[in-house]
């Protein structure tokens, strides 16, 4: 323990969006909070940085659609500097020969059958009704099973009641489709390959799942259940980094202290209680509780150490599936490329390369064998259309999420880096033939780069795969699924906790509430 220095009520490890949200809520409740960020920049995986001279990009996540409006209101993010450059962005499923499908939360248009156009609103309405049932689950600590605590029982009863209240038809449908794969569900409902491919994309984005993998309907519902309002895609002005700047401002205004360049080396334990942290520099800082927004493996195995934990718990943590399967490609463009069949206005949303269910599933197949498909699945944004300040005048930035890019390649990544970037450009050139001529420079963040740059073990941007066995009341692992670590005084608030990743902030808010209740 540090002598003579101040003791914080809480030290938050990691200055990503969840860490900052947690710090802001704790500080607003009057706690003395210190946020420690290892890198020189706040934001974690929600950050904006330069990737080519004069070109800025949201380095990991590139759209904001999961953060609940209530949270943004409570932390007064608008007053703390957050502006939205674009809202309610549409999604364009890119098709060949300029024949695309455009959809939003309520309607669909473009190259699809009339039957699909008429079925789409009912599909959205059903998903939204089901998602609304799941919605309250996200904003609270998951209940524990087999306890006598009224809080756990009430939460379980509440879930049962909400499902029951769906009514007979919707409840049956939820129970019928809940364990299905999204491929089968979409085949039941739609005809147009382009629409089915794009809708399946939303179910598998960022996960180690293909459209035929079990549990993909659940992951789709889960994505829609986010209280941000289903599929309301927004783009903060200044990129995702501007969001975390606003969160940091909110935390500071509430009294939190924030230090960058302050990597935590160890979480300190005394008498079986967490009492502070040691920084990489050797400096020791004392706190009554430590709240870690780092991923569970880093927190438990790296910062805390197995010796303070039970062996079975450590095994569960070490067996968490944390390999990322999504890469980022950033392109600095000298001019805006021309996408066949799309005017610049339609380019403001997100563009998907997921032209059919078979295409997506086929791309997924390669990843199982430590390869990537030569026909990759992509999500593209051109943030400079709504926010020109991210690039020099007249120039543009293209931010691409490439799905199904393995952490480990059988051939090794070293020789493949350039080839993969070229593959992405070539794939997009099928829709925008002049793209290769526009590219001035490019950057690849493969899962291992994401692991290194954002300090996420495995490079999974949800910290841990969002699948049924790592979900809700067992996320990240039994024994730590309610934000509380097995060691007294240690809490989790990162994407590895319920309700998981994406730039949502709910893990941070739920954790802060839990900390205040448990460590008042």
């Amino acid at each position: 323990m540090v002598q003579g220095s101040r003791q914080y009520d809480a030290i938050v490890v990691g200055g990503g969006h969840n860490g900052l949200v947690c710090a802001a809520y704790l500080a607003r409740a009057g706690r003395a909070v210190l946020v420690l960020e290892a890198s020189e920049r706040l934001g974690g995986a929600a950050t904006t940085r330069e990737f080519a001279p004069g070109f800025q990009v949201s380095a990991c996540a590139h759209l904001l659609h999961l953060m609940p409006p209530a949270l943004m209101r409570e932390l007064d993010l608008a007053a703390n500097g957050l502006k939205l450059a674009a809202e309610r962005l549409p999604t364009v499923a890119l098709g060949s020969e300029g024949q695309h499908v455009t959809y939003s939360s309520s309607e669909v248009s473009g190259a699809l059958t009339a039957a699909d156009v008429s079925r789409y609103p009912a599909w959205r309405a059903l998903l939204e009704r089901l998602a609304k049932t799941l919605h309250p689950l996200l904003s609270a600590a998951p209940p524990r099973l087999g306890t006598e605590a009224w809080r756990d029982r009430a939460a379980l009863l509440g879930l049962g009641w909400r499902i029951r209240r769906l009514g007979r038809r919707d409840m049956r449908e939820l129970l019928r489709i809940g364990g299905m794969c999204v491929h089968d569900l979409l085949e039941e409902r739609f005809e147009s390959p382009l629409l089915k491919g794009a809708l399946a994309f939303d179910a598998v984005l960022g996960s180690n799942l293909g459209p035929r993998s079990p549990g993909t309907v659940l992951s789709l519902l889960y994505r829609l259940a986010a209280p941000g309002g289903p599929e309301i895609l927004t783009q903060p002005q200044g990129g995702l980094g501007a969001l975390t700047q606003a969160l940091a401002e909110a935390a500071r205004r509430a009294g939190a202290e924030i230090r960058t360049h302050a990597p935590v080396a160890r979480i300190l334990v005394r008498d079986d209680r967490v009492c502070g942290v040691t920084l990489g520099s050797g400096e020791e800082l004392a706190a009554r509780v430590v709240v870690s927004s780092a991923d569970p493996k880093t927190t438990f195995l790296g910062l805390l150490g197995s010796e303070h934990l039970d062996a079975g718990f450590v095994r569960r943590v070490s067996q968490l599936r944390t390999r990322g399967l999504a890469a980022k490609v950033h392109l600095a463009l000298d001019r805006l490329p021309h996408f066949r069949g799309l005017d610049p206005q339609s380019l403001r949303g997100r563009l998907l390369v997921a032209p059919s269910l078979g295409y997506v599933e086929g791309a997924f197949n390669y990843s199982k064998y430590e390869e990537y498909s030569s026909a990759p699945v992509l999500e593209v944004t051109i943030p400079t259309l709504a926010d020109p300040a991210l690039a020099p005048p007249g120039k543009h930035v293209m931010s691409v999420i490439a799905q199904y890019v393995p952490y480990k390649l059988a051939t090794g990544w070293q020789e493949q880096r350039q080839q993969f970037k070229e593959l992405v450009i070539r794939t997009l050139a099928a829709f925008a033939p002049d793209l290769p001529d526009c590219v001035r420079s490019s950057e690849l963040l493969a899962p291992q780069d994401i692991e290194r740059e954002f300090r996420i073990a495995g490079g999974h941007w949800h910290h841990a795969e969002l699948a049924f066995d790592q979900f809700f009341m067992v996320r990240p692992v039994p024994g730590a699924a309610q934000y509380q670590a097995p060691v007294a005084g240690l809490f989790l608030c990162g994407a590895g906790c319920h309700p998981g990743g994406g730039v949502m902030g709910l893990a941070g808010r739920n954790a802060a509430r839990h900390v205040m209740r448990e460590a008042a």
Binding site: V269, L301, E307, D310, A311, G312, F313, R315, S318
Partner: protein, 404 residues
């Protein structure tokens, strides 16, 4: 040891290096499996074998005992996190009886831990533990290897055991204290066999355990039998051993507790506090697996516990349910091991009983079923909770031991 002519699936049980010697002495051809080996249940007569332990010397083949070599920079830290005792107090040349638990403080197994050198240990266990050891090794720089087949082992137990070893020229053996180990050389006709000897055992009597290379096993056996004639040495099987271990109050896995790693049903596992092993649990040494649950259990007080029972009459209370009163209305526990003790001349049992009946002197009633020439009878018999061990001769601790 597999022979080349027989594929492994034709001989699912291994033979220990002492197998041929034991087979030659086995009159009843009564073998039982133990940890993947075939071992002797009884050679000729359980009674004679029992009395060899208590009055002479007994030789028991320990080879199937599962053995792990645990070494590496973090070996001490690893073992302190694995087991409930403080391994920092275990100096080279010493042995600890110890236990380890799962995350919920439920017993996985017990065993003996030998410190051979700093950060160099051997762990002997009743059952295979590699999966749990591997899980426990995450985050530690430690090498774990199973060495069961690399080490042959014999237990030489009984009042004349020390004298027998002295007869064999093992100078200084009498200075070995309980739970100490030493390295010796046994002069054989052709060569000298290095022996590691620990003053440990499962009999509660004066005795030693001898650890050797499998290649020396038969020669060492022969030397012990030869020199032991005058000391009354007799090979024994596991049935005689079971009587003496109950007299000594030692627990047997899958008899007195079920390992938390095998248990399927909830509520069947036991914590070391419940099994009367609180003295093995060092809450002050830092974290170990199960500590937080055990601490809570200690503060709350155990719900049940293992006790020794002195049962009236002479019929062993095997598998008996226990009741608070003779009327048999309120069940308060059950017997885990039971035997008529020929030395104590008492009818002994180990039992798990509810917390209200843990104090020595408590009276409980055992519902004993007797098979009398295929006719079943039922007796409700009074039993009293008594201190364990039931039998603890002074010679088990005396150093040097008296010369018998």
């Amino acid at each position: 040891m597999l022979t080349e002519s027989e594929p492994h699936y034709r001989q699912p049980l291994l033979k220990t290096p002492f197998h041929e010697r034991q087979r030659a002495l086995s009159q009843l051809d009564s073998f039982v499996p133990w940890s993947g080996y075939t071992t002797v249940d009884v050679f000729s007569s359980v009674d004679q074998e029992y009395f060899a332990v208590r009055n002479q010397s007994s030789l028991y083949d320990l080879t199937p005992m599962v053995k792990y070599r645990i070494g590496g920079r973090d070996a001490l830290r690893f073992l302190n996190r694995l087991t409930t005792r403080n391994v920092a107090k275990l100096a080279p040349g010493k042995v600890q009886y110890t236990v380890w638990c799962d995350d919920h403080g439920q017993l996985i197994d017990d065993g003996t831990l030998f410190c051979l050198a700093p950060n160099e240990y051997r762990l002997c266990t009743a059952e295979r533990q590699l999966d749990w050891l591997a899980a426990s090794a995450i985050g530690f720089e430690v090498e774990i290897a199973e060495v069961t087949e690399e080490i042959a082992a014999l237990a030489l137990q009984g009042p004349t055991s020390c004298a027998l070893l002295k007869d064999l020229g093992l100078a200084g053996i009498e200075r070995l204290k309980p739970f100490e180990l030493g390295h010796f050389e046994l002069a054989l006709a052709a060569q000298r066999a290095p022996l590691m000897i620990s003053r440990t055992g499962f009999t509660g009597d004066l005795g030693y355990e001898l650890w050797m290379k499998p290649a020396d096993a038969e020669n060492v056996w022969d030397a012990l039998i030869q020199a032991g004639r005058i000391r009354g040495v007799r090979p024994i099987g596991s049935r005689a051993l079971n009587i003496v271990r109950i007299e000594a109050g030692f627990l047997l896995p899958n008899m007195d507790f079920v390992s938390a790693s095998h248990a399927q049903r909830s509520g069947t596992t036991r914590s070391p506090l419940e099994l009367g092993l609180a003295w093995l649990v060092d809450f002050g040494k830092g974290h170990f697996t199960g500590r937080r649950t055990l601490l809570a259990e200690q503060q709350r007080g155990p719900l049940r516990g293992l006790v020794g029972l002195d049962v009236e009459g002479n019929k062993p209370a095997l598998n008996a349910l226990l009741y608070a009163a003779r009327d048999g209305n309120r069940e308060i526990g059950s017997v885990t091991s039971a035997v008529w003790s020929p030395t104590c001349k008492r009818n002994l049992a180990l039992a798990i009983v509810d917390a209200a009946h843990l104090a020595p002197g408590s009276e409980v009633w055992a519902d004993i079923y007797l098979n009398r020439e295929l006719v079943w009878e039922r007796r409700m018999v009074r039993a009293r909770v008594v201190e364990r061990p039931f039998y603890a001769p002074a010679r088990r601790r005396a150093t040097p031991p008296a010369d018998f």
